[in-house]
């Protein structure tokens, strides 16, 4: 079983913090503009909700990437790819090469800064059946993509 590139932890943390800031600002604006003074019997100072979100968000951004990294692992086998992931709900996925329709290599700005990439394997399945492996070293991901390109089959239904 292989682990992901450790720099994915940093990417996840930054992503989480950015998201937290976004929701904090949105909530604060909403709090300030619309909800002000309409708490009924209970008086909270403006910005309580956004403050709580900020605290929870920061705690999460510290803990979540560590745990997610710990439980994420994958294996490239002879006929299939095998993933294990999940903090609360643990999922093991098996995707045979013969069922892969097409392959994407995605890189966000952060990914590019840390020289990692996300590999997405699309299948014809129905319920969220696309197999995603984030945080692979770029060279490795490109190599894997090229290797998989040869083994995927046309007749997959």
């Amino acid at each position: 079983m292989y682990k992901l590139d450790p720099s994915i932890k940093t990417v996840w943390t930054i992503n989480f913090i950015l998201k937290t800031f976004f929701y904090t600002v949105v909530l604060f604006v909403a709090d300030f503009m619309f909800v002000k003074g309409s708490y009924g019997d209970y008086e909270f100072p403006t910005g309580t909700a956004s403050f709580i979100i900020l605290i929870i968000g920061i705690i999460f951004s510290i803990i979540f990437p560590q745990l997610a990294y710990k439980y994420w692992s994958f294996d490239v086998r002879e006929n299939e790819i095998f993933l294990v992931r999940g903090i609360f709900t643990r999922v093991k996925t098996l995707a045979p090469y013969s069922k892969i329709q097409h392959i994407d290599l995605q890189q966000s700005i952060l990914d590019r800064m840390y020289h990692i990439a996300k590999l997405v394997l699309y299948t014809a399945g129905t319920r969220g059946a696309d197999v995603v492996i984030p945080g692979l070293p770029l060279e490795y991901a490109e190599d894997l993509r090229d290797r998989l390109k040869d083994v995927t089959s046309v007749e997959s239904l």
Partner: protein
């Protein structure tokens, strides 16, 4: 005889009655505006006249021009369809890519003797061809010609008699299942679709204005209204009860009538690589299910039908075509033995008599889940000041339901096929050939992990989510063993096929 084949090699227009049909189809707004313009019109309301003029000079020419500019031809290699007045559209469908040719007719189309032809190709929705409309005879010829070209692409000598012969033999030999009127009546009587309650209610309230059957009760009701003091509770209850019974009865009858309309003369035909269903009284429908697209087969029944030994057979297919319903009824209603026979003729699945049961711990898990839902529901009710403690009396029933849920779940993996059984009220047996799965998953949620349970998910390309291809609540080690077994068998099967 080569006339039939050559008939479509020149550019052709649609059937002239298309004009009449499209005219009828777009007439309601025209008639309404006519009515408004001439009958209801105060002199001031000139708006209607303008709308009328726009409609009249907009719709009619567009119908005629669309008809004039629509051309199609079928050669031995391709089907050309040309349409569009201002924005021209040319569509070329290679004959070899055509999966099947479907016809449909609704009531008006049937009266006019025209038919809608839909040429479906593999997978790609954008490359579909629809001919609206050609005559029924032409539709039949088109399907024959396409079939002919597909079977003899490089043979030069054309002999259409051969096609006709072949076609006839096909449809006579391959009949797998058909329904007579009695079967359809029974099917309709057992469906109890809730939607029809709405129609029943509507018809009932419509009939009430004629007061055939409730004159007496209305009398009682009005006299009581005058004197609320001694309102006769008995008659009032009787009136309400009778109304409800009447509504149920009417919707039941409507359901039967509608079922007969949909399934009249239902046939399931086995052609070379596909199944074809057809049926319908006022509007006829033909559906094609290519074998290759079948992802899953389901035997469906409910607790009532199971007592009467009635089951239905459905196929879940990978998405294709415009309908993309992904779920086709192959046998609407039949005894279990007959269903087995049909399945046996299509592909040899031996449907097991006994299934392995899931973990008994699931009863606890499901019960807690129901209980939490009930408590949340009760608290919401409490908020609206309804006593909610009373609802908690139902919890033993929930436990019983959780027990039933466990009892009716089962699975078995033999002969490269996974059989999954589930459902308390609606009962299903899903048959999934394992070479059809796209991804295989084991999912353990937080609560499941605490009980040592897991869910095994076989994701297929069936379009609908109702194609439940998962085994819930099995022990984690069992799930893992099954996971390995399935993947091993899958690899064996796939490698031997190549």
């Amino acid at each position: 005889m080569s006339g039939i084949v050559n008939k479509f090699s020149e550019e052709r227009s649609l059937h002239p009655l298309t004009l009449v049909y499209n005219g009828i189809k777009s007439s309601p707004p025209l008639l309404i505006s006519l009515y408004l313009a001439f009958v209801q019109n105060d002199k001031s309301e000139w708006m209607y006249s303008i709308i009328l003029i726009i409609l009249f000079f907009g719709i009619l020419p567009s119908i005629i021009l669309n008809f004039i500019y629509f051309k199609f031809k079928i050669t031995d290699k391709e089907i050309y369809i040309q349409s569009g007045i201002i924005a021209k559209k040319n569509r070329v469908i290679p004959i070899s890519k055509v999966q099947n040719v479907n016809f449909s007719q609704n009531f008006f189309q049937k009266l006019l003797g025209i038919s809608r032809v839909q040429i479906e190709t593999a997978g790609d929705i954008s490359a579909e061809g629809v001919l609206e409309f050609v005559s029924v005879a032409n539709a039949d010829e088109i399907s024959k010609i396409i079939k002919y070209y597909q079977s003899n692409v490089d043979v030069l000598g054309i002999n259409p008699t051969l096609i006709e012969k072949e076609h006839r033999i096909d449809s006579a030999d391959g009949k797998l299942f058909s329904m007579n009127l009695k079967d359809i009546f029974i099917y309709g009587a057992l469906r109890f679709r809730p939607v029809f309650l709405f129609f029943g209610f509507w018809l009932y309230s419509f009939l009430q204005q004629f007061s055939f059957f409730n004159l007496y009760f209305e009398d009682v009701f009005t006299s009581n209204m005058k004197n609320l003091q001694d309102l006769n509770v008995f008659y009032l209850t009787l009136l309400v009860t009778l109304s409800i019974i009447a509504i149920f009865f009417i919707s039941w009858i409507l359901d039967i009538i509608w079922t007969i309309n949909t399934f009249y003369g239902f046939n399931l035909i086995n052609e070379k690589n596909k199944l074809i269903t057809s049926g319908g009284l006022l509007s006829k429908q033909t559906q094609t299910i290519p074998f290759k697209k079948i992802q899953q087969i389901s035997i469906v029944t409910n607790f009532l039908k199971e007592h009467l030994d009635y089951y239905s057979l459905r196929f879940y297919t990978a998405g294709f075509g415009l309908k993309a319903k992904g779920n086709d009824i192959a046998v609407p209603n039949a005894k279990l033995q007959l269903i087995y026979e049909v399945i046996d003729k299509i592909k040899q699945y031996r449907i097991p008599k006994y299934f392995l049961s899931i973990s008994k711990k699931s009863i606890k898990r499901v019960f807690i889940r129901y209980l939490v839902l009930l408590i949340i529901f009760s608290i919401v009710l409490q908020y609206f000041s309804v006593y909610f403690w009373f609802l908690l009396l139902f919890s033993p029933f929930l436990y019983y339901f959780a027990f039933l849920n466990w009892k009716f779940r089962g699975y078995l993996f033999i002969d490269n096929t996974l059989y999954i059984k589930y459902g308390v009220i609606i009962r299903k047996i899903n048959i999934i050939p394992i070479k059809k799965f796209q991804t295989l998953k084991i999912r353990e949620t937080f609560f499941q992990r605490r009980l040592g349970l897991a869910t095994l998910i076989l994701d297929t390309a069936a379009v609908t989510l109702s194609a439940e291809t998962l085994i819930r609540y099995i022990d984690i080690d069992v799930a893992e063993k099954l996971f390995d077994e399935i993947s091993e068998n899958f690899n064996k099967q796939f490698n031997s096929a190549e």
